[in-house]
């Protein structure tokens, strides 16, 4: 099980939860299960989110495994110069 922290902008789309717990072994599975539970997340999940796993930000690589007890946060996909 991983606890996924949602950024404030996502919470209205997820029953106002700030944390969601899902059974997932990697980012893709985590996003898929969250989306199944909260269909409103589908839009931001298409290109607007990045995932911080133990402080490292993953923007694209959904194959990243989620170790047991990892800190997982959804954050906005960022722009750079």
């Amino acid at each position: 099980m991983v606890e996924v922290k949602l950024w404030a902008g996502l919470r209205p789309l997820a029953d106002n939860q700030s944390v969601a717990t899902v059974e997932a072994s990697n980012i893709r599975e985590m996003l898929r299960k969250l989306e199944e539970r909260y269909p409103g997340l589908a839009t931001p999940f298409r290109g607007q989110v990045a995932v911080a796993v133990d402080g490292v930000i993953y923007r694209d690589d959904w194959s990243k495994e989620l170790p047991e007890g990892a800190e997982v946060m959804l954050i906005k996909r960022l722009a750079g110069g």
């Binding site: 404030a8 902008g9 993953y58 990243k64 800190e71 946060m73 750079g80 110069g81």
Partner: protein, 753 residues
């Protein structure tokens, strides 16, 4: 991702040396071809008509007289573009910004464009296009735009991120919040609290090469685009999406790029050039003038920021809070959010809260500028940190060290940090001779820290080994600052060959798979990872070829020091095969030898820097000069140290310009007053001292060589470092960037009375 990107603490032969850059001769002889240096047979010249109003409804555009001008071949307006009004919001904004549909949203907003056989016909036609404007009230200032009585730019914008959702539209597109703990409880524990408001003015990337492209659309739906860009694959996708082209039929070639710094991550004129070419049936060359670049490309945000920080007498920060308001131009984006994420990132804070407000105004659409949004947030936060240290009576470096973030710290934007370099940069600053050098009269010293995220992203490279054993590496990330040299070093390192045997080229969009842009400090980080991967794939092929050449089993062959070697007692006496040896036989061992890689280079990690500067202020004129400047930054591993230093120095120089003189100045009519290098004052050679650099190498655990991005963070600390230095020189806290002479003199005079 099958590629293992974990840091391997290996000894380097090539990486870390300083060979000559491969594009050097072309660039010192004038042969390098930039955006404007390409021509096609039969090409037309394009010019763009721009709104003279800051905010105006377009009631009609009459192009009939202009079309009658001899030599004019096509005129386009928004009517010639797809109507994306009800489609994807981000795409709509990009297209509307390229060509205004309902309203001109800022001075310089494109409303029509002409393609003609020459400049003078195009110019004559522009004058004959009649646009019927209904001038609307405008607002350019971020605080004014948030007032209840401000003219509302877009009545479909309702502030997101607030509960309950507002019932009235406003110019505040979004509210975002970050932090943890309880700031009120934290402030209650503070012995001393500093609270202050700051402003920064809008700055432009100021790349010396204006946007330029040549577009050629054919009747069969194929098209070519030659363009200066930081990301030709992204430009291809954007242009295809905006114009309804098929991406694979649009071939985009990136020219040499004359500076970008974030400003060439976004299409401005390219869709217009393609639309003109499609309509005219001929190639079209479009070069923006310098004035157009300032008025109508994408500068960074102007901001207004409030900061409150409290600490105990012994120097521990108990709470930090900031409210950050950022302009985004006429279209909503996420610039304030980035500021809110980065403001307090260098610190280990028990209680922290940042709130960002994204504000639309009648200014050009904001684009990324080198660590976008972070310099302004750092200016405010680091000014307050400095002031707090002074109030407590602590040395500013010691105070920061006492509160610095480290591995395991919960960052102010949420996640817990892995290994990070802020502490070591502060330790290095403390030990640096600059910190203890004596100051002259009227001089002040300031220092500040900076933080930026680095990106990885989608990356694809092709490595081809020629029959003579020399190697071409084709990459899809545009070289903005010497990355071809760095990537050639990486190939040499992995294959164990000479740097001079490698040629790195930037492939066009039809010859290589998709690559994200050169942005987010990702160019060398991500492409080096893909290049290492491609080289290792090529090595695998060469092992197979060696097995064929020797006619022994593959598992008996290993790769070491640039050679295939046979293992064990049975074959071990064979002379190792070099890349050249294996390449020479390629035709008979299975054909060309290549290594390819497609990967997502995530795990870039975050980046920190600490800067120190000395400023001398003329108290009679308010003029200030930077007399000494030092940059200390973590590079993870410097692949080509000379170009890492170059990034540090260039970022510092841009920050110095922003801190002292650069600003967009608008008149009461909402028109930009200084759209040129004469009055948009970037630093000139005589403004600056030598800029000293110190490269720290704290390996990134998520890159085989430990590489981190180095491009952006160097622009984050200078605004605050300079403001702190000026404040120390004149004994007054300066809170409005740029610290132009009139602002400094006015503050000195106000303090006298």
């Amino acid at each position: 991702m099958s590629f293992d990107a974990t840091f391997q603490n290996k000894r380097f032969n090539s990486v870390g040396t300083r060979p000559l850059r491969p594009d050097g001769i072309d660039k010192v002889t004038g042969r390098a071809r930039y955006g404007a240096d390409f021509n096609m047979p039969g090409q037309l010249v394009a010019r763009v008509l721009r709104s003279p109003h800051a905010h105006a409804r377009i009631k009609g555009i009459d192009t009939s007289k202009a079309e009658a001008v001899k030599g004019v071949k096509a005129i386009v307006t928004a009517a010639d573009m797809p109507d994306l009004t009800d489609g994807d919001e981000a795409l709509f904004a990009i297209l509307d910004n390229c060509m205004a549909r309902e309203k001109a949203m800022y001075d310089g907003h494109a409303v029509a464009a002409v393609a003609a056989i020459d400049e003078s016909s195009a110019k004559a036609a522009l004058k004959l296009i009649k646009v019927d404007y209904e001038v609307l009230p405008h607002v350019v200032d971020v605080d004014a735009a948030m007032m209840a009585d401000a003219p509302v730019l877009n009545d479909t914008i309702f502030t997101q991120g607030v509960e309950p959702a507002p019932s009235k539209p406003s110019n505040v597109a979004n509210r975002s919040e970050f932090g943890h703990g309880d700031v009120d409880a934290g402030f209650a524990k503070a012995d001393i609290i500093v609270e202050r408001s700051y402003k920064t003015e809008q700055a432009h990337q100021g790349y010396i090469e204006p946007h330029a492209c040549v577009a050629s659309c054919n009747a069969d739906g194929t098209a070519d685009l030659w363009v200066c860009t930081q990301g030709h694959f992204v430009y291809r996708q954007n242009c295809a999406d905006l114009l309804g082209l098929e991406a694979s039929k649009l071939r985009v070639t990136s020219s040499e790029i004359g500076g970008g710094f974030g400003g060439k991550t976004h299409v401005w004129a390219e869709p217009v050039a393609l639309a003109l070419s499609r309509k005219a049936g001929r190639p079209v060359k479009l070069i923006m003038s310098r004035e157009e670049v300032f008025r109508a490309s994408g500068p960074t945000s102007a901001t207004s920021i409030d900061v409150k920080i409290g600490a105990t007498k012994d120097g521990k920060i108990t709470a930090a809070e900031a409210t950050l308001r950022y302009t985004s131009g006429p279209y909503p984006d996420m610039w304030a959010e980035l500021g809110a994420m980065t403001a307090f990132a260098p610190y280990d804070l028990e209680n922290v809260k940042t709130v960002g407000f994204e504000v639309v105004v009648n200014r050009p659409k904001v684009a990324a500028y080198r660590a976008p949004s972070a310099p302004m947030a750092a200016f405010a936060a680091e000014s307050a940190v400095d002031e707090l240290a002074k109030e407590i009576g602590m040395d500013p470096v010691d105070f920061r060290i006492a509160n610095v973030a480290k591995e395991g710290t919960r960052s102010s934007y949420g996640p817990v940090y892995g290994p990070i370099g802020i502490g070591p940069t502060l330790d290095a600053a403390k030990a640096h001779p600059h910190m203890s050098a004596p100051l002259g009269p009227n001089q002040g010293r300031g220092m500040a820290c900076g933080f930026w995220f680095n990106f990885g992203g989608q990356t694809c490279t092709d490595l081809n080994i020629s029959a003579d054993g020399t190697v071409t590496i084709a990459v899809g990330t545009v070289d903005v600052g010497g990355s071809r040299a760095s990537l050639s070093l990486i190939v040499a390192e992995e294959l164990g060959i000479e740097y001079s045997d490698v040629k790195a080229v930037i492939a066009d969009t039809s010859t290589l798979g998709y690559n994200d842009m050169t942005d987010g400090s990702r160019g060398t980080f991500s492409t080096s990872m893909a290049t290492i991967s491609a080289a290792r794939n090529a090595i695998e092929v060469m092992r197979q070829r060696a097995a064929i050449m020797w006619d022994i089993p593959l598992e008996h062959i290993y790769w070491e020091d640039g050679h295939a070697k046979a293992a064990g007692s049975k074959h071990g006496n064979r002379a190792p095969l070099s890349v050249k040896d294996i390449a020479a036989e390629a035709g008979n061992t299975g054909g060309p030898i290549a290594g390819h890689s497609e990967l997502v280079a995530d795990g870039a990690g975050v980046s920190f820097a600490t800067h120190i500067c000395d400023i001398e202020v003329d108290s009679e004129t308010g003029s200030s000069r930077v007399v000494r400047y030092t940059v200390i930054q973590d590079a993870g591993k410097a692949v080509h140290p000379a170009y890492v230093e170059g990034q540090y120095q260039g970022g510092a120089a841009q920050g110095i310009g922003w801190a002292l003189n650069e600003e967009y100045i608008y008149g009461d009519d909402g028109r930009l007053q200084n759209p040129g290098f004469l009055d948009y004052r970037i630093p000139v050679c005589s403004d600056l001292p030598m800029i000293d650099t110190q490269i720290l190498e704290i390996p990134n655990p998520n890159h085989p060589y430990g590489v981190r991005g180095v491009g952006e963070t160097s622009i984050v600390p200078p605004l605050a470092a300079i403001a702190n230095a000026v404040s120390n020189a004149v004994g007054l806290r300066m809170s409005h960037i740029p610290l132009s002479p009139p602002r400094i003199l006015a503050a000195l005079n106000a303090a006298k009375t």
